[in-house]
Amino acid sequence: MTTTGLGLRTAALAGTAMLLLTATASAQQAQQFRCPRVGGDLIFGLEARVPMLDQHVTPAGATRNVTMNIFDTLVTRDENMNPLLNLAQSVDISPDFKVYTFRIREGVTFHNGKTLTSADVLASFQRYQRVGFDRSILDVVDSMATPDANTFVVTLKESRPTFMEAVSSFTVPIVIIPSENANAPAQQLPMVGTGPFQFVEFVADSHIRIRRYENYRPDTRYTGLRGFGGYRQACVDTVTFRMLTEAGARTAALETGEIHGSEDVPTASQRRLAGNPNIRLSRLENFWLHITYPNVSVPPTDNLLVRQAIQAAMNMEEIMEASSDGAYRLNPSFQFPGQAYYTDAGGNLYNQRNQARARELLARSGYRGERVQLLTNREYPSMYNAALVMSEQLKAVGINAELLVLDWPAALQLSTTNAGWNFFFTGWTSVFAQGGAQSLRNLANPANVHKPPNNQTDPEFQQHFNAIASGTTLDERRAAFARAQARAFDQVLAIPMGVMPKVQAVRANVEGFEPYFAVRVSNVSIRP
């Protein structure tokens, strides 16, 4: 299936679960975004330190906050996590899903003045193959070619209908850089992109400043922001991202007007700020899936009946209440509602709060009081609180639960081994948010966070997971996802506990700001 015309392409891609949204004629007719006013320095308080700015290398959300305003990608995601054309003008996919031909948007220039060509796209992909964090998504690539300055062709070793989903992932996005920077060592990538803002300075642990790129040409196929793409414009002269990791100090800075926006407002401060007419709170309902996964290689959690007993004993309301100060939503799924792959398959096993069933399963399992170690940390209070409440719930049904509290790096390191712990507490956000195979990949080979024997996950789960990647229609993939999720619940490969929102805030004179999985400063302006 080769798609050429826009309508045909859209239809074809929709059939493969890739709503490559191009606004086309309707968008051109609709009114495009215009900055209500131009100028000013937007100061945004970040909750985490930006470790580095090489977006090919790091999965840190703090880095994305900055770089996604500087760089573009070939394909990105819209708000509903559907792939969205960005620097690609179009994409043609062969009927066997092995050859992907991208046409590059014309007239796009880098911040150094150079015009974007397919050679730059090729160089970016090649650097990603060399140092990119998520380089395994390109393992399926057989060859890449640039038949002309505006065409980039990727040929895969095998049919991969979900390739567009993979390359549009924004966890560690394949940002497009000038070819002359492609040999930059890891962590030393010059900050030259094609986005609406260009890099000015980075003072580690203090701030990062970017400014409007005057020669930026918005993508006129769209009318406004769409995920990390769409019609983007820099309305402010400069943006200063200040790293204010202490939540109280960051909130105070917002209240005093020292900063225009805050990346995260703690629940305790939300009530106070809600009554402040100078501040507007925005809420991204589905941001963080609170999750715990078992170690299925060690006793007693190698015993399926024990795991099922633990799952039956859990009361998610209590756990999430303690984890989030009340700001949570129960979610019997490994997806957020509204997303293409959302399903509640297997959800009957979620939040059972059934102590009798837990005791019955324990009795059948032959459990004899072995210790169940809940591996957690104090750096993330939500994880610690979840572990604390869960341990009490397990004790209530006769399980010898015990907290194992380490600092985050040590806990993370221990969780990569298959000994010394039974449950690990963490949270999934951007990977999970992007749906489909990506959101379940941590339970499939070779990631296997639940540490199955010989690093081979449950065969039935893996079969369904493979079917997600190979399904040629969205319906096929959805059905496979539902089967995989149901199996994950049944085998207790992971236990989702609930969803926590992301609450951000801006001063009342900030216009156009919408919360997202990273801070988007395009189309944001400041009223004097």
């Binding site: 109280g248 993370l412 999934w428 990949r441």
Partner: protein, 317 residues
């Protein structure tokens, strides 16, 4: 004195070598490696391994140790794993902010600590003494992170006098520096002011009971002169020792304060490096702190000899 200082500095070299070895060894023994932290939970093991290779963490322990020392003797502390910049540059960039705030806090500590201690001693068992002692006790009891947050609410949110955080260099804007450094310095200093005031008070009370003070008073010397000339000289001997300890506490206490007030100093750099297991940065930061404390100790020893002529800096008394 010059020979003494040189000798002490030379003695510091093996100690610093030992500090670097211990810091290197401890960080390798502590669970958690930088690649895992950077990759985050649930990362593909192959991706983590790739990252580990990219960062040069796949080499054996001994080989990493040898590389570290070979580079160290050439003045190269390596590259920070998280910043991607040379550790030396990162440490040099951050040092001025930490030292400036520590010096500011030290100034506040010495001025208010000595003043409060002397006043409390001179007005022993009066309401002045009670108030000073109570304030000193409160100062000693308050954790600086709590104090910092309370000051932000009071001086920034309520009164609007000072910015909530950030740092302006003194050389670019002295007034801006004063505004940004005052709350961090105060939150560092308050605890130490209390400590110094209590020590000064008790030392002063002890000194004021000495015969030579009674003699000085009997000779009709003014009370101000008795205190400043005769009593303070002896009060300063134990106080100088305490000041040395206080300064080291001020530098180490900067981790929390710099985080609260978003100051790009050594403390926040080191704290963040530990949380990310950035080995080269931890080693570089610890070497800096160890060197600073050693230099400080030498200075204190020299000061000690200045205040107490009975002490000979060559070791004989």
């Amino acid at each position: 004195m010059g020979r003494y200082a040189t000798k002490r500095l030379l003695q510091a070299i093996p100690i610093l070598a030992l500090v670097s070895l211990i810091s290197f060894g401890i960080m390798k023994l502590v669970p958690g490696d930088p690649a895992t932290v950077m990759a985050g939970p649930g990362a593909n093991p192959a991706d983590v391994e790739n990252l580990r290779r990219t960062l040069g963490l796949d080499k054996p322990f001994l080989s990493q140790l040898v590389i570290f020392y070979v580079n160290l003797v050439q003045g190269d502390l390596g590259r920070s794993l998280m910043l991607g910049t040379p550790v030396t540059d990162a440490v040099i960039e951050r040092t001025p902010a930490t030292l400036a705030i520590a010096a500011y806090a030290m100034g506040l500590t010495v001025f208010f600590g000595l003043l409060a201690g002397v006043v409390a001693a001179l007005r022993q068992n009066t309401w002045v003494d009670q108030i000073v002692s109570s304030i000193a006790l409160i100062g000693v009891s308050l954790p600086n992170f709590w104090l910092g947050l309370v000051m932000i609410v009071l001086f920034s949110v309520q009164l609007g006098w000072l910015p909530t955080g950030g740092y302006v260099e003194f050389r670019t804007d002295p007034v801006g520096w004063l505004r940004t450094a005052t709350m961090p310095a105060l939150s560092l200093a308050l605890l130490q002011i209390g400590l110094l005031a209590r020590i000064t008070r008790s030392t002063m009370l002890e000194v004021l009971r000495q015969d030579y003070i009674r003699t000085a008073r009997a000779k009709g010397i003014s009370e101000f002169r008795v205190i400043m000339r005769h009593a303070m000289a002896n009060v300063m001997i134990p106080v100088v020792t305490v000041i040395g300890i206080i300064l080291s506490v001020l530098i180490s206490g900067s981790v929390v304060v710099e985080t609260i007030f978003a100051i790009p100093g050594i403390g926040s750099l080191l704290g963040n490096a530990i949380l990310r297991r950035d080995y080269p940065l931890i080693q570089g930061g610890l070497l800096f702190v160890a060197t600073s404390l050693m230099v400080l100790n030498i200075l204190i020893d020299l000061l000690y000899a200045y205040f107490d002529p009975r002490v000979r800096i060559d070791g004989s008394a």
